[in-house]
């Protein structure tokens, strides 16, 4: 494992985790909270907490002091481990605060804890990003995580020279699953704690990185840098797979990345915190087939999230619970051992047969490929008609003058809601509003035409690239009141 210039072998990590478990056990804490940028600290705390049979919660270090302390207050008697730069936002939350450096120092000499966790017990509690509602505490058990890992990774299957570059945040499910599955595969893990496209590209070269996972905003920046400073010969020659996920990536960006990195296999991974990470994957072969196919139903799959992983079942259901067939849009339900569906203070939300309602609008095509149409909470209801913003966004983002866009519903006295397209222009000149509206009208039903188009220099997103639609809607609603 390589993290901020530090190198640890797996046995060194294991020894530190043993000592870390001792530190956690002797603190008497019932929960461990980590506030920091991650790197080696994440796998270390995952295993130290597990070996002390105490759940771990990595928190979003970008939250306000109030936000962090409120979340810590929702966890039982926690030991709070914090990177120096975030020491002040934590205050005296929890039963004890321990700076990361002190924890590491103590872990290097402490005796191991003698606990062995119940596999059904909670291993990790993650707060949902709360882009549509207040954060919920998702409880993920040891069994959920091991089912995911043993079901999708062969132990020790990585080649000796394999290396994964990990730049997803530690408080995101992708950060947790990256630490576990790469370690299980025996793949060198290279951590980049504060994402920067230049640093990312440099690390790929320096460490001979063969696989990496990025969120959409990261992919966008990497592509921009690669376009600005072309390599002599192939870019990133060691890279074999590049996975993207965390939120939807616009098709033009995927096509651009594919053409810039022809030797790289692209992977689109879709999953939720509640499902212990990935539940559907669009593989490198799927990407290549879709890109070159003259059959439009196959070409379209570039915008899908691929096929469900073998250990997960999926259903698309109508509002009345009827299971829908191929091509019919409804809500995505999933079932499998890796699906938690359990929240602190709420309990399990699985139905009687173990199905979890994802609240994602989705459909399957004839070949079983899964398409995600955004959160059902984001659905626009205009004059009684349900409209998934993703349907309009997918069309609009293909327009040459559009770099990025988000479509939201804004309150309207006549229609209930109207469709507003927030567009980031591709160049300095603002595109023609009527041209954009008619571009959408030509391809979708008339009721899908944006009522208004507004321009922004960028879209508000969180660290994993999710567009903060609530912020956009709030801003647009208040602008209207003041107009």
């Amino acid at each position: 494992m390589v993290s901020d210039g530090q190198r640890l072998t797996v046995s060194e990590l294991s020894e530190l985790a043993d000592g870390g478990a001792g530190v956690i056990a002797s603190s008497g804490a019932k929960h461990v909270v980590y506030v920091g940028t991650g790197g080696a600290m994440l796998p270390l705390l995952l295993f130290a907490s597990a070996r002390a049979a105490v759940p771990l919660t990595p928190l979003n270090y970008r939250l306000s002091a109030d936000g962090v302390r409120t979340l810590i207050g929702r966890l039982p008697e926690p030991l709070v481990i914090v990177d120096d730069e975030y020491r002040s936002i934590v205050g005296d939350a929890g039963i004890q605060v321990l700076p990361s450096a002190e924890f590491l120092h103590a872990a290097s000499s402490a005796d191991a804890a003698a606990e062995f966790a119940d596999p059904e017990a909670v291993a990790v509690v993650l707060f949902t990003s709360g882009t549509t509602s207040a954060p919920k505490a998702v409880e993920i058990s040891h069994n959920n995580l091991t089912s995911y890992v043993t079901g999708t990774v062969e132990f020790g299957s990585a080649d000796l020279d394999d290396a994964a570059l990990i730049c997803v945040p530690p408080y995101h499910i992708a950060g947790v699953s990256a630490a576990l599955s790469n370690l299980y595969a025996g793949r060198k893990m290279v951590y980049l704690t504060n994402f920067d496209a230049h640093a990312w590209i440099r690390l790929v070269g320096d460490e001979g990185v063969t696989s990496a996972t990025v969120v959409p905003t990261m992919l966008d920046r990497i592509v921009t840098v690669l376009e600005e400073s072309p390599f002599d010969g192939p870019a990133l020659p060691t890279l074999r797979t590049l996975a993207y996920g965390g939120s939807k990536v616009a098709a033009p960006l995927v096509r651009k990345a594919l053409s810039l990195l022809p030797q790289v296999g692209f992977v689109n991974a879709y999953g939720l915190t509640e499902t212990s990470s990935t539940i559907a994957v669009l593989t490198p072969d799927d990407h290549r087939t879709a890109l070159t196919s003259s059959d439009s139903s196959v070409a379209r799959r570039l915008g899908s999230v691929g096929l469900p992983v073998p250990s997960v079942e999926v259903q698309i259901r109508a509002e009345d619970g009827t299971v829908l067939g191929a091509g019919e849009v409804g809500e995505l339900f999933v079932r499998g051992d890796q699906v938690s569906g359990r929240y602190t203070g709420i309990g399990s939300v699985l139905d009687a047969n173990g199905w979890f309602a994802t609240k994602d609008v989705a459909h399957l095509d004839e070949g079983g490929y899964l398409y995600i149409g955004g959160r059902s909470d984001d659905t626009i209801i205009r004059g009684g008609e349900n409209i998934a913003p993703a349907e309009i966004e997918d069309v609009l983002v293909e327009h040459a003058d559009v770099r990025d866009c988000a479509v939201v519903g804004v309150d309207d006295p006549a229609w209930g809601q109207i469709i507003v397209a927030v567009v980031v222009p591709a160049s300095a000149a603002a595109p023609d509003v009527e041209e954009l509206r008619s571009y959408v009208r030509r391809q979708l039903r008339g009721s899908r035409t944006p009522d208004r188009v507004v321009f922004r220099n960028e879209l508000p997103t969180n660290a994993t690239g999710k567009v903060l639609r609530r912020d956009l809607v709030a801003e647009l609603n208040s602008m209207k009141e003041h107009a």
């Binding site: 062995f116 040891h142 999708t152 299957s157 994964a164 063969t210």
Partner: protein, 100 residues
């Protein structure tokens, strides 16, 4: 019934497993032809691997029977796993392209 999460060891080789999914059948789980015991227990002396059950276990592999039992090998050994005299089957992962 044996609890999920119970760790068992072979009495005749290095094999150790953790029970992922329990079933009644695991009461007669054997490694190297000899009944497995909880890791904290003493192994009986003077037992050896039955040559009929000596194809070995693989680290990190899951083994299953027809009754729904599943164990994960956490330490490999020269004895192979069986319920009574019926060998357990290896359950293959369906590997994803490196997506983490």
């Amino acid at each position: 019934m044996i609890k999920n999460g119970l760790r068992l060891k072979s009495q005749v080789c290095d094999t150790q497993v953790i029970v992922v999914r329990s079933a009644e059948s695991l009461e007669d789980l054997r490694a190297g032809g000899v009944r497995m015991v909880p890791v904290a227990d003493e192994s009986a002396a003077a037992l050896t691997v039955d040559p009929a059950f000596s194809s070995g276990t693989l680290m990190g592999k899951r083994y299953v029977d027809d009754a729904g039992a599943e164990v994960l090998v956490t330490k490999a050994g020269v004895g192979s796993l069986s319920i009574g005299t019926t060998p357990l089957a290896v359950k293959d992962a369906k590997p994803l392209p490196a997506s983490d």
